[in-house]
């Protein structure tokens, strides 16, 4: 997000693709540093609703990556002609189009997966990640970078979904992708498959990341005391 604002004032003569940080950074940003789920806490509904098995999490990831990349690309293509007043309407129209495409594509690939995802395919329309990337990135950047950003954010979302899905499936059903892991004597920890398990698993990951960030901050503070104090001040 911040990068998008930074190269806004770049000289008009140079193409936007050349400005700003290298392309790889656009991609990696979404993957880890600005992970849409764990850092920005966006798109929480599918993160918890669709992750009671790794297979569903994978299917959802593919669907979201497709919509995110396509809508970013198309938004970026029409950004110069779209007046500011109606940009949100145009974004929603474009996103809804690609969600409809995904809806039919998933049905064409596998009906059981379609049934497992239920209403959550249609609900990709209101997944905040996609609208946020259209507004914050694709509307201000070139097609190539927007596609990269779509892939980065999409993979970041997938990582989060897989983190959630694998924990919930391994503990809740004793399987991974449907293959039993622990033998017949394992008594599944069903609570992880229930809705409350979704909340607990998500909270668990947020705790882990917060702990990890706090430890890193402490180390930074230990090595560079004056910089550490500056960083800690706003908290």
């Amino acid at each position: 997000m911040s990068t998008a604002h930074q190269h806004q004032p770049s000289p008009p003569a140079s193409p936007p693709e050349a400005a700003g940080p290298p392309a790889s950074e656009t991609f990696l940003n979404g993957l880890w540093k600005e992970n849409p789920v764990f850092v920005q806490v966006l798109g929480t509904c599918p993160t918890m609703a669709i992750t009671n098995s790794v297979r569903n999490a994978l299917a959802m990831s593919v669907a979201v990556i497709f919509v995110l990349v396509c809508s970013n690309a198309l938004v970026s293509l029409v950004r110069k002609t779209t007046p500011k007043e109606v940009r949100i309407a145009v974004f929603i129209l474009i996103i809804a189009t690609f969600v409809t495409v995904v809806d039919y594509a998933v049905k064409a690939v596998s009906i059981p997966i379609y049934q497992a995802m239920g209403p959550f395919i249609a609900l990709i329309v209101v997944n905040c990640i996609i609208l946020a990337r259209a507004e914050a990135f694709a509307y201000k950047n070139g097609v190539f970078r927007s596609i990269l950003d779509g892939f980065g954010m999409g993979f970041g979302f997938s990582i989060a979904l897989l983190f959630m899905g694998s924990i919930r499936e391994i503990l809740g059903a004793g399987t991974l992708l449907g293959y039993p892991l622990f033998g017949a004597n394992y008594q599944p920890w069903v609570i992880f498959l229930l809705p409350s398990g979704g909340f607990f698993t998500f909270a668990f990951w947020l705790l882990i990341f917060a702990w990890w960030r706090e430890r890193k901050d402490k180390r930074a503070k230990a090595t560079r005391p004056e910089a550490g104090q500056l960083e800690a001040a706003p908290q």
């Binding site: 189009t97 609900l123 398990g197 909340f199 607990f200 909270a203 705790l207």
Partner: protein
């Protein structure tokens, strides 16, 4: 699928399958707007209102789409209706009650991307409810959403006075409480008979 009583649909959407705590719809506002009782209840009322209007409209639109065999336009039609409804509601409230408009503030436009609103429209269509059933389903879902928000705002106002470990501050503690609430709401299962 069409013979469930409206009363049961209402109770089911309100308690047994609470939209926030068991179907995972509307989590974003649940986390974002549940820190104070006033904002939580106002958001709830606005959502109930938009839900009822847009779900009724979606019911009519679905009939039209089915008549023309154009189900592939359903997603687009629903989201456009919801976005338009939110705009209309915003203008309407601004005209009739500026006080309420100021109170709702930023939460009104945010409702467009509240997945509970689209979710209610989609679910009543896929379950094949008739108009009365879908009305009670919508009402129950909206009230259930508000209920979850209000409960959470009450708990959070207590939590704010406590010493929460630094790493759990913010979203994580809300999610942990939501998990416990979700477990508690499973107790309503018996109401289904």
């Amino acid at each position: 699928m069409n013979n469930v009583s409206s009363a049961f649909i209402f109770i089911d959407a309100l308690l047994i399958h609470n939209f926030v705590l068991s179907v995972f719809l509307g989590i974003c506002p649940f986390i974002g707007v549940s820190n104070r009782f006033e904002t939580a209840s106002r958001m709830g009322i606005a959502v109930i209102f938009v839900m009822i209007v847009s779900s009724s409209l979606a019911y009519g639109i679905n009939l039209v789409l089915l008549h023309f065999n154009a189900e592939y336009l359903r997603i687009i039609a629903y989201i456009v209706v919801i976005a338009a409804m939110v705009q209309l509601v915003e203008m309407f409230i601004k005209k009739t009650s500026p006080a309420l408009f100021r109170a709702l503030g930023i939460y009104l436009p945010l409702i467009t991307t509240n997945c509970a609103v689209l979710g209610v429209a989609m679910l009543q269509t896929s379950r094949g409810y008739n108009f009365v059933q879908s009305f009670f389903f919508t009402l129950g879902s909206g009230l259930g959403f508000t209920l979850a928000l209000i409960i959470m705002s009450g708990i959070r106002s207590k939590i704010n006075l406590n010493d929460v470990p630094s790493i759990a501050r913010g979203t994580a503690i809300v999610l942990l409480i939501a998990g416990v609430l979700s477990l508690a709401f499973m107790g309503f299962t018996g109401l289904g008979g």
